[in-house]
């Protein structure tokens, strides 16, 4: 690893991350105090009650279930009344609320995923935000038109999102930050400028993302500084600017990004020009699975096709204004909790986070306009990074003969083979100028929502707080998905 001067890197690479919303936001002009606001129910039940209060009822929650709006006018009112173990059960309606959750181990569930809708009306910030509460499960509802995120967990030990729909939100769709022991499953994210799904700042994360669909976002998945028993499996990432993008950077804690396992996903056509997109999504555009400074990841048995740049690319991320030094390799195993206690070094210039020690095996990759599988850095010897490729089905690679140069479980080649047919990731910077600009998430031509599958037995299933997640995944049983 090396340190570069900012000036020297001004024309060099780059990639990724998450974070800043490159598009305009409805709350750009928010006042200093911007506490979540609520509430007005547009219930499909004609007996709409007065907003903002919990309906007087001596038995509210006595059975462990708080019904909205029958027992509490608002979701926030029900959440505030809930005790650990309770179920907040929401009837169909449009709820103009930004809900904050600070109580452990409650379950929030819609009776119908498609008609229980939290709507931010491009004014409220997050649909449901879980802050420092452990074991909160959210199930079977939709969050749309929020200026920040549809569903957001932060600082949680135990979280689960199941059968969720996040649509047209101004930052992320479904966002798990600084949280561990999680499960995101059977969910859908569309129309966000950053990522439809995000898991970040955790190591070990001990989390699973299973059977989700992410489309028409800046990034399908972004995972800054996330890893350690983090599985992204059996999911579909399509029609985003870029598909699956794990990435490193010191603008969040717990760097570098490492030890994520990406298996059995369907990743295609991530060249979408008319989505909302943060700057790095524009930079990463046209790539299926792109490690931007990630290390020790496993990318296996994914079906990846139709990308303007790479199907599976391992590239560096330039951080021009870092907040710490690059962690040496012997610190990659330091857990997040420990790293948080360590004072940062004084950075002296930009950092180049290289993708290293990643295993790319058994993927089926095709129709990539630059290269199906690829690796690059800036002025470094690629043979020293410890990445390897094995058993992939592909037509093109950069450098040429990549599987021969760096086969897994065999010695890496040295010599000038690494200089033939290289990726030249620096040239991507020039492509930014030509790339389609971000489209405001509020007005982007994100396809209208179609009905999404409901969770079984939403009305009768008992509360199920996120105390038993992540669920076990039989990785060995996952095969390359069929082409749609």
């Amino acid at each position: 690893m090396k340190r570069w001067s900012v000036a020297a890197l001004a024309v060099s690479m780059v990639l990724v991350s998450c974070g800043g919303d490159g598009s305009s936001s409805a709350d750009d002009a928010a006042p200093v105090s911007s506490a979540p606001s609520s509430v007005a129910i547009e219930s499909t039940d004609p007996a709409t009650t007065e907003a903002g209060t919990v309906a007087p009822s001596s038995g509210i929650g006595a059975d462990g279930i708080i019904e909205v709006p029958a027992e509490a006018d608002t979701i926030q009112g029900a959440v505030d009344a809930a005790q650990p173990g309770d179920l907040v059960l929401i009837s169909p309606g449009i709820y103009q609320e930004a809900v904050d959750v600070t109580t452990d181990e409650i379950t929030i569930r819609g009776l119908d995923r498609n008609t229980v809708v939290l709507d931010g009306n491009f004014e409220l910030d997050n649909g449901i935000r879980v802050v420092g509460a452990n074991g909160v499960a959210i199930e079977n509802l939709t969050a749309q038109n929020f200026t920040k995120n549809g569903f957001f967990w932060t600082g949680a030990d135990g979280y689960r999102g199941s059968f969720l729909t996040a649509y047209r939100n101004g930052d992320y769709g479904i966002y798990a930050f600084d949280s561990v022991n999680g499960q995101l499953e059977d969910s859908y994210g569309s129309g966000s400028p950053d990522a439809g799904f995000y898991i970040g700042q955790c190591f070990p994360c001990d989390a699973v993302m299973d059977n989700v669909i992410s489309e028409y976002n800046g990034l399908g998945y972004s995972g800054t500084n996330a890893g350690g028993n983090l599985l992204i499996v059996n999911s579909t990432f399509r029609y985003n600017r870029a598909g699956i993008v794990p990435n490193s950077g010191s603008y969040e804690l717990c760097y570098p990004q490492r030890d994520s396992t990406i298996v059995g996903n369907l990743v295609y056509s991530n060249n979408q020009p008319d989505t909302p997109a943060i700057d790095v999504a524009i930079l990463a555009m046209g790539n299926g699975i792109l490690s931007a400074g990630g290390v020790r990841n496993t990318i296996s048995r994914n079906l990846v096709f139709d990308h303007d740049k790479t199907g599976i690319g391992l590239v560096p991320f330039l951080e021009e204004d870092p907040n710490d030094d690059l962690p040496p390799k012997d610190e990659w195993d330091v857990d997040c909790a420990t790293q948080k206690t360590q004072a940062p070094a004084t950075p002296e210039g930009g950092l180049l986070w290289d993708s290293q020690e990643t295993r790319v095996e058994g993927n089926v990759v095709s129709d990539s306009r630059v290269a199906d599988i690829a690796v690059d850095s800036v002025g470094a010897d690629l043979s020293t990074f410890g990445n390897c490729w094995k058993g992939n089905t592909f037509a093109t690679s950069a450098p040429l003969d990549l599987e021969t140069l760096a086969p897994c479980d065999a010695p890496v080649a040295t010599g000038d083979g690494w200089t033939k047919g290289v990726l030249n990731v620096v040239s991507w910077l020039a492509d930014i100028e030509k790339a389609p600009k971000s489209v405001d998430y509020k007005t982007a031509k994100t396809p209208a929502l179609t009905p999404q599958p409901n969770m079984p037995d939403a009305a009768t299933a008992p509360a199920k707080p996120a105390t038993d997640v992540p669920y076990q995944v039989d990785l060995a049983s996952i095969v390359v998905p069929a082409k749609p």
Partner: protein, 141 residues
């Protein structure tokens, strides 16, 4: 909104923080709203930095002496804000419109006390993206 300056670091050992020399001149336009807005320029010559990363303040807790100028720097890629918690000392802080990535907000803390604050985008009272400044009279910290 202003762009972040190039910062010269020093580290007061008692602070375990990211200190700045007072050579970083204050610009009244850097500060946000509130009755004390514009009180920049450290009377005691000490300037320290609190970073707003995505999504945490670093350091989260800091003890300073009266007259210290604190520079809150958004070094993340997300929007943030710095808002006094409702039951804490008011009259300072910056909203997200003035605190986008690369922006900074400066304030001189000239009264002793405990200043608890929050990024309301990424935290709630006492949880998530929160921080506290303990301002002591001279010689106490």
């Amino acid at each position: 909104m202003t762009r972040r300056h190039s910062l010269v670091l020093f580290a007061p050992l008692s602070l375990v923080a990211f200190g700045l020399t007072s050579g970083c001149a204050s610009d009244p336009s850097d500060v946000g709203a509130g009755p004390n807005a514009g009180k920049a320029g450290a009377p005691n010559g000490v300037v320290v930095e609190v970073q707003a990363l995505d999504n945490s303040f670093r350091p989260e807790a800091l003890t300073i002496e009266v007259g210290t100028e604190v520079v809150f720097a958004n070094v993340g890629r997300n929007d943030h804000n710095v808002i006094p918690q409702p039951d804490s000392i008011q009259g300072w802080g910056v909203g997200e419109a003035e605190f986008a990535p690369r922006a900074e907000y400066r304030h001189v803390f000239d009264s002793p006390g405990e200043y608890r604050y929050i990024c309301t985008i990424h935290g709630v009272k006492g949880k998530g993206m929160v921080g506290v400044l303990t301002v002591t009279t001279e010689g106490e910290s």
